[in-house]
């Protein structure tokens, strides 16, 4: 987000004067019209809107709601349980992005498990697992390969390195998620009322903008690909408000400095080289067809799941305990406010999150818990 390193090509996109002008223009365009509900579907947009205080800069007619958040937040309970089960194996360490540490499994999380002595290494890059594995040939390392289309190519690079260097002690536990099928599933929900989509900038770097066109046409919902600076977001919101006013449902690119119509072909090719699409479970949303990636069968020797006997995997999966009553899906659709969920604030808190809306630090439920309780009214 706002790295206003003065010579960065993104610095001008954080300019307060431009933001003020955009804000006036949004106000003018939305004024007197019907209320407009926009949805962002990227965890980093959620954080950016929040960090810049953008939501309260919008006129009352324009509401921005948060989608399912980041792909880490939507990692299902069963995946965490399997990762934790792997830690019971001797001489085995997990390698993960920091985001995963607090995502809850049925009975524990990586953070809790590490406190009890499990070895969990936090890295910045998937490729950092290579150095860990090289330094300790006697330890088996399992990289938790999670993330959207932006992150999955990093897992492909890691797989290529493992194959080329014949590394015998490094595996991946794959749960990558795909954005377009999730958008399709969300927009297909009859109770979701969304007038426009703020599309994820860095997912779109890989996918390009064309991929969204059929979705926009099918559901009659416009979308704007946005970057992460305040000017990016405000100009995207303005574009969506205009399209709504004019009754158009196009896909517009407002992150042209990074996103092309076709996206990054090399990165996408690496995904089809190593992975196959599959149906996948999303925390809070349930199963979504074709929304996940798994290793191609010919690469199963790199699969972290292969380190467990199939009977053990079944045992873990049968013992998965999901909290009944989580209303994440309804919260996302705006049909239920966070306090109406039976788990909210009781079982489900930022320190012990259950659903994706609470796992995400700025998700709808987490934000409501931290900022809305015991205090009402705007900040102005």
């Amino acid at each position: 987000m706002s790295v206003s390193s003065s010579d960065s090509p993104s610095a001008a996109f954080a300019d307060p004067a431009r933001c003020a002008a955009l804000r006036r223009e949004i106000e003018k365009t939305a004024s007197g019209g019907p209320p407009i509900t926009l949805m962002e579907v990227c965890g980093t947009h959620t954080t950016a809107l929040f960090r810049f205080g953008l939501r309260e800069m919008l006129p009352p007619e324009v509401r921005v709601i948060s989608g399912p958040g980041c792909p880490v937040c939507v990692t299902p309970t069963a995946y965490i349980d399997l990762a934790l089960r792997l830690l019971d194996e001797p001489r085995l360490a997990l390698v993960t992005f920091g985001d995963m540490m607090r995502v809850p499994g049925s009975r524990s999380s990586l953070e809790r498990r590490r406190a009890r002595g499990g070895r969990v290494e936090v890295v910045y890059s998937a490729l950092d697992a290579l150095a860990l594995a090289a330094a300790e040939p006697q330890t088996r390392f399992v990289f938790l390969a999670v993330g959207f289309e932006t992150t999955a190519p990093g897992s492909a690079l890691l797989l290529r390195a493992i194959a080329e260097r014949r590394i015998a002690n490094l595996y991946l536990l794959v749960a990558h998620k795909l954005v377009p099928p999730a958008l399709e599933a969300l927009l297909g929900r009859p109770d979701l009322r969304v007038d426009g989509l703020i599309l994820p900038g860095h997912v779109s770097v890989i996918l390009g903008t064309e991929v969204y066109r059929p979705i926009a046409e099918r559901h009659g919902v416009p979308g704007v690909v946005c970057g992460f600076e305040p000017v990016d977001l405000l100009s995207g919101i303005l574009e969506l408000v205009r399209m709504r006013r004019d009754g158009t449902a196009a896909i517009v690119n407002r992150y042209g400095r990074a996103v092309t119509p076709q996206g990054n072909r090399l990165a996408r090719a690496s995904l089809s080289e190593w992975f196959l699409e599959e149906d996948a479970e999303w925390r809070g949303l349930g199963p979504i067809p074709g929304s996940g990636l798994r290793l191609r069968p010919e690469f199963s020797s790199y699969d972290g799941l292969g380190l467990l006997p199939p009977s053990e995997i079944r045992k873990v999966e049968e013992a998965v305990r999901d909290h009944e009553g989580c209303r994440c899906g309804d919260v996302l659709c705006g049909t239920v406010a966070p306090p109406e969920c039976p788990l909210f604030g009781e079982v489900c808190t930022p320190e012990n999150p259950i659903g994706a809306c609470m796992v995400s630090t700025e998700g709808t439920c987490a934000a409501y818990f931290k900022y809305a309780r015991g205090w009402s009214g705007g900040v102005r």
């Binding site: 790295v3 390193s5 960065s8 090509p9 993104s10 610095a11 001008a12 996109f13 300019d15 004067a17 431009r18 002008a21 955009l22 223009e25 990227c42 965890g43 980093t44 980041c70 792909p71 880490v72 992005f97 985001d99 910045y124 890059s125 998937a126 490729l127 950092d128 999670v146 993330g147 959207f148 932006t150 992150t151 190519p153 990093g154 690079l157 994820p200 900038g201 860095h202 997912v203 770097v205 890989i206 992460f228 000017v231 100009s235 407002r254 042209g256 400095r257 990074a258 996103v259 990054n264 090399l266 990165a267 690496s270």
Partner: protein, 78 residues
Amino acid sequence: MCLAVPMRLVERDGDRGTVELSGVRREVHLGFVPDLALGDYVLVHAGFVIEKLDTERAEEDLRLLSILLDDPAPEKES
């Protein structure tokens, strides 16, 4: 999942390169964006370059935005 930051490419050796922002440096993989020159701004996500930043397009977008908003802000950047 999409925290990616613009950084400048300052060293390169085949698929490997070093990027820099405000004095912070990191080795990154360039395999997905091979057509790069030193000094280019790139978007870095989790240790690999996902795209080269099109600085001309950035300027053009800002120019169009100013026309649209009829806004006197841009002198600041010129």
